[in-house]
Symmetry: D2
Amino acid sequence: MTTKAVFLNCSLKKSSEQSNTEALFKKVKHHFDQEGIVTESIRIADYQIAKGISEDEGAGDEWPILFEKIKHADIVIMGTPLWLGEKSSIATNVMERLYGGSSLTNEKGQYLYYNKVGGVVITGNEDGAKHAASSILYGLSHIGFTIPPNVDTYWVGEAGPGASYIEGNGMENSFANEHAKIMAYNLIHFSRILKETPIPNEGNVVSS
Amino acid sequence: MTTKAVFLNCSLKKSSEQSNTEALFKKVKHHFDQEGIVTESIRIADYQIAKGISEDEGAGDEWPILFEKIKHADIVIMGTPLWLGEKSSIATNVMERLYGGSSLTNEKGQYLYYNKVGGVVITGNEDGAKHAASSILYGLSHIGFTIPPNVDTYWVGEAGPGASYIEGNGMENSFANEHAKIMAYNLIHFSRILKETPIPNEGNVVSS
Amino acid sequence: MTTKAVFLNCSLKKSSEQSNTEALFKKVKHHFDQEGIVTESIRIADYQIAKGISEDEGAGDEWPILFEKIKHADIVIMGTPLWLGEKSSIATNVMERLYGGSSLTNEKGQYLYYNKVGGVVITGNEDGAKHAASSILYGLSHIGFTIPPNVDTYWVGEAGPGASYIEGNGMENSFANEHAKIMAYNLIHFSRILKETPIPNEGNVVSS
Amino acid sequence: MTTKAVFLNCSLKKSSEQSNTEALFKKVKHHFDQEGIVTESIRIADYQIAKGISEDEGAGDEWPILFEKIKHADIVIMGTPLWLGEKSSIATNVMERLYGGSSLTNEKGQYLYYNKVGGVVITGNEDGAKHAASSILYGLSHIGFTIPPNVDTYWVGEAGPGASYIEGNGMENSFANEHAKIMAYNLIHFSRILKETPIPNEGNVVSS
């Protein structure tokens, strides 16, 4: 039984441009590859994602394409850059759309995202990673994802204007590299544990 | 094998005074009782908890008493009131002290809090619950706790000055009651799952 | 000398749909009208605002239209609904674009937004207003706006699913109404004070 | 007419120990000294500050000593270190106590803190400064302080464990130094502006 991971890269840039967040995610993906996890990385800016709080906003909304991938994933990782110390507007848009699907239930009557595990990868030239991680991991947990320990991997530079992850030599930051490894393995461990022992539906079936 | 839960009630008031947060926690505890979970509720304001970032600040510091209880618990629930839309200073103090113990490792070389699950109970007369939940759940996750889905139970009233949980009839709020139940059961489920299948130590042993 | 206020309504809905945040803003506008402030309310969802961190992202980007209005305003009020306890993705987009213009300077060499005053209006069916207010007011302050006291007006209902501002009878909430008045007057007072006594440029001219 | 500034240093350490946040504040104070501002720096950890939400919690509470100094100050600057990406428990305690005095009014019927200006100085070995600044500046604004532009000065190092401000050579960080200067001057400018033109009490007199 294959384990599938999707990385939702919420960079403001399309995939025609280099993404620092993608570069840090590759550190996580390296361990996924070694463990045989099938990984797909999606640059959200390449899609037309409508604003709204529903599964499908119609009229050119491409969220349903992504939602389908998310439904089939065991591991969902949000990626975001930092602006004004916060996650990007695209990350906020994705969280709103994930929330829009949160009232759906699985075959056991639990929220749709039960038995899926979530994590986050963040890069910025300076400050804001923990705030963005806190926002995203809480949001995921609130709509049904499981959050294993230590699933926030980030790199930021010293206070003030400065180089981003790639240019700032972040790829050699031992803290970020160690966390990328711990995060990858804890996502894998929990994904496997929850495949073997799905969350029982006692006490958590949603009233309709 | 008994499952133990500790509730760290970070009300600014000592146990000689009524706590709204305690009252909401009792909704969670009701389900713990039914499932045979051994629960201890601790009013942090009754103890002298020193400021600092270590396991023991010496000189009258009573944190080691609480830390011992936390070490033996399977489920740790933070409880907090809201002031200016944020968790209390006592809750911040407890998070700092929990962080102070986060570099300790278990017999497998993982962070001490691995295989423990965390949740949060919040009351306020108005606004701030999700921000406080986000802060606390992220902090717990960052130091090694597992965060099951939907483990934030809260009650707040309409915007503006007004009655708190007990006086404001929050005990009959069906949203808070349903979440207390889901939270209790998901904490129990994950605690049992992790007793049966502890997190493997592949990839997450901390470098010393 | 006319005082101009712009309201940037970051509802996820276009102006063809009713906005609760607009309804609360009207409480603020009522006082602006009485004091002869010229007010323009803009529904951001009606415009094509590109993603990015610059003044003009080209290719159909309609931000420059709004940026021109903002440049000529004395008072800028952000409006946002709440999702997952946070400001909307459109509000995040607007903050990013405002930030994109923050390196511009006025004729005295200060950041462009100096001598402009900022405030925020928030509605949600429940919880999150203070977190969103904190995020927006900090962002505005960080890029050069002055934040007078008590310029956050909000309405949220009791915890859990429920009616929004209009349907939930928020228009009669005396706390929200009093704050709408205090906010309106403090924005007017500071706007007038800063017209009479602009911020001297000693010590705050930006190095180029 | 002398302008008075108080710096509330919320380090977890007493003044017998070196404070990185104090060291960064000295960069701000340098400009205060040049402009003849009378400055007092208070290490909160040296005092017994009770928990609670009132002006005086009795029984050894030393907050009233500090509150008296704050009442006579024109400029109030909060200082805090970072733990888990957030302001310290002592800073949270101080914000709660400041809030406890916020219902008092001045001779014109406005909140007590009207015509006072607020700012924040933050140091940490890594990440969290903007989140802490956002929390503190919003809290101050919400209880009546004026927040001039760019009054958040901070230093943090690159992601991961590492040296703090002094040891990490933060004192030579040009971004932090420039912001210390802008912050100092904007606090002085607004303090002088509000002495000359206090906030009129039209529209902002609090209902009793």
